[in-house]
């Protein structure tokens, strides 16, 4: 980078690097430095959430449209309709007062009833019917005037893969069906299901490793970027300070790392 960086950016780099290393200090041991970072994370996140919720919900979705409607058509009942969700929202807060906590049930009933109602047809359509539809693909297709059964493993919709898919779906569904005992032929089906499950979990583990490593790569990218002269070498200096801090804490045993949050 060339040229002087803004002070806010340089200060930000030092703060970001310091906080990153505070959290990484947990890799040595649970320690006060990590706890400071952990509690600060929760505090700042909650503060951010409160501010954004206020401006998005109470301001943008409620008070601004409501006051606009009332200003334009003060006598029309429809202008006051947003008072209904406002009232329901306030009823939710009745939970804080034991004597009138039961009022919050009306709001929860409204929300949960709506949520359950909209979910039923959409869940059936998207998660059940559509998934079953794709499971029962045709095995034999018409190709060049003749019938054809594809043995191409590389194409997911091929005949052979459709058979494997059907076996997989039915055997895994059967494995989770505990109303009958898994003995004899049922045991063979259940064991097939377990085989499929193990492969899927192995693939999931492989992807999880990839995902977690990516997160670490991202942090190291930032630490490398902030280790430059333009920022005043915060990574190196703060790393040294944190190592010293951990050594000092370890040696003098200032605080015992018992869980307390």
């Amino acid at each position: 980078m060339s040229g002087q960086l803004p002070t806010a950016m340089v200060l930000g780099a030092w703060v970001a690097t310091g906080l990153t290393l505070l959290i990484f200090s947990f890799l040595y041991k649970d320690n006060p430095l990590f706890k400071v970072g952990e509690h600060l994370y929760v505090g700042v996140s909650v503060g951010y959430s409160v501010v954004l919720t206020y401006y998005t919900v109470f301001n943008r979705l409620l008070s601004v449209p409501l006051s606009k409607e009332i200003a334009e058509k003060p006598m029309a009942p429809g202008s006051y309709v947003l008072l209904i969700p406002a009232l329901l929202g306030l009823l939710m807060w009745a939970r804080f007062f034991p004597k009138i906590a039961w009022l919050s049930r009306i709001s929860f009933a409204f929300v949960v009833g709506f949520g359950s109602g909209v979910a039923i047809p959409r869940t059936i359509s998207s998660y059940i019917l559509k998934q079953i539809e794709d499971t029962v693909n045709p095995l034999i297709t018409l190709l060049n005037g003749g019938l054809s059964f594809s043995m191409n493993f590389a194409v997911p919709q091929s005949g052979i893969n459709t058979i494997i898919l059907v076996i997989g779906v039915t055997s895994v569904l059967f494995y989770f069906f505990f109303s009958i005992e898994h003995t004899g032929p049922a045991n063979a089906v259940a064991r097939t299901g377990i085989f499929f499950l193990m492969i899927a979990f192995g693939a999931a583990f492989g992807y999880t490793v990839m995902s977690r490593m990516s997160l670490l790569i991202g942090r190291f990218d930032d630490l490398i970027a902030y280790s430059s002269k333009d920022f005043g070498y915060p990574t190196i200096i703060l790393l040294g300070l944190i190592i010293f801090g951990l050594w000092y804490w370890q040696r003098h045993n200032i605080d015992k790392p018992e869980g307390n949050s």
Partner: protein, 217 residues
């Protein structure tokens, strides 16, 4: 009074649930108007509900500071972080940028919240490696299958693995698109049936744990 505490919420749940389950199949303008309005109301009510969780956190840590329990200093740090962010946020009117420039609120977000949140989850990378060494043993046939699939996918999804053993790419694609899809599909169908059953139980008033807020439900 019992009617308002007990029956009324259940009646509301039933009416809302039945109405909006049927709404999906009724394209009439009145039906569409109803869902337009109510879905907008839900956005507002959800905002109020979020404050419930936040208030609870405020309360728990306030008590820790007040009673000076061991570790109350950390609760104080949490509180300070919260209060300062809120003060700065309201002073900036909730804006993280203004005319292309960053506000103080934006600075706090970029240089404290982002690195803290990103780093908190990135340390899992170290623990997953440690756990893989300590616990990932082929004790049985099933474990061996799981292990082999994991190794093939880890090889097949990175350039070095594709370079050293090109066939791992093709096997990974097949594992994900066929075997993994089959398993996930079965789990999805099963879980969804359970979710639909639960939703029906809620609408019919058989399942009432969501009500809370008192003894009599």
């Amino acid at each position: 009074m019992i009617f308002f505490r007990r029956q009324l919420p259940l009646i509301i749940t039933f009416l809302m649930g039945a109405m909006f389950a049927l709404q999906y199949y009724i394209p009439h303008p009145v039906s569409e108007g109803a869902i337009t309005a109510v879905s907008n109301w839900m956005q507002i009510i959800t905002g109020f509900a979020m404050i419930l969780g936040i208030a609870s956190l405020f309360h728990v840590h306030f008590l820790k500071i007040k009673r000076q329990v061991p570790g109350w200093g950390y609760s104080l740090i949490l509180y300070l972080g919260m209060i300062i962010t809120m003060i700065v946020g309201f002073a900036s009117h909730g804006d993280t940028t203004i005319d292309g420039g960053q506000t103080m609120f934006g600075w706090i977000y970029d240089y404290t919240m982002v690195p803290l949140q990103a780093t908190m989850f990135s340390i899992l990378a170290f623990f997953i490696a440690s756990a893989a060494y300590r616990a990932f043993r082929a004790r049985s046939r099933e474990a061996a299958v799981l292990l082999s699939a994991a190794v093939v996918v880890m090889m097949g999804r990175v350039p070095l693995g594709q370079f050293l053993l090109p066939f791992t790419w093709d096997i990974t694609q097949w594992l994900l698109n066929v075997v993994n899809s089959a398993v996930r599909r079965a789990i999805l169908i099963g879980v969804s049936m359970g979710a639909v059953a639960l939703s029906i139980k809620i609408i019919l008033g058989i399942e009432r744990s969501y009500l809370g807020g008192g003894k009599d439900h």
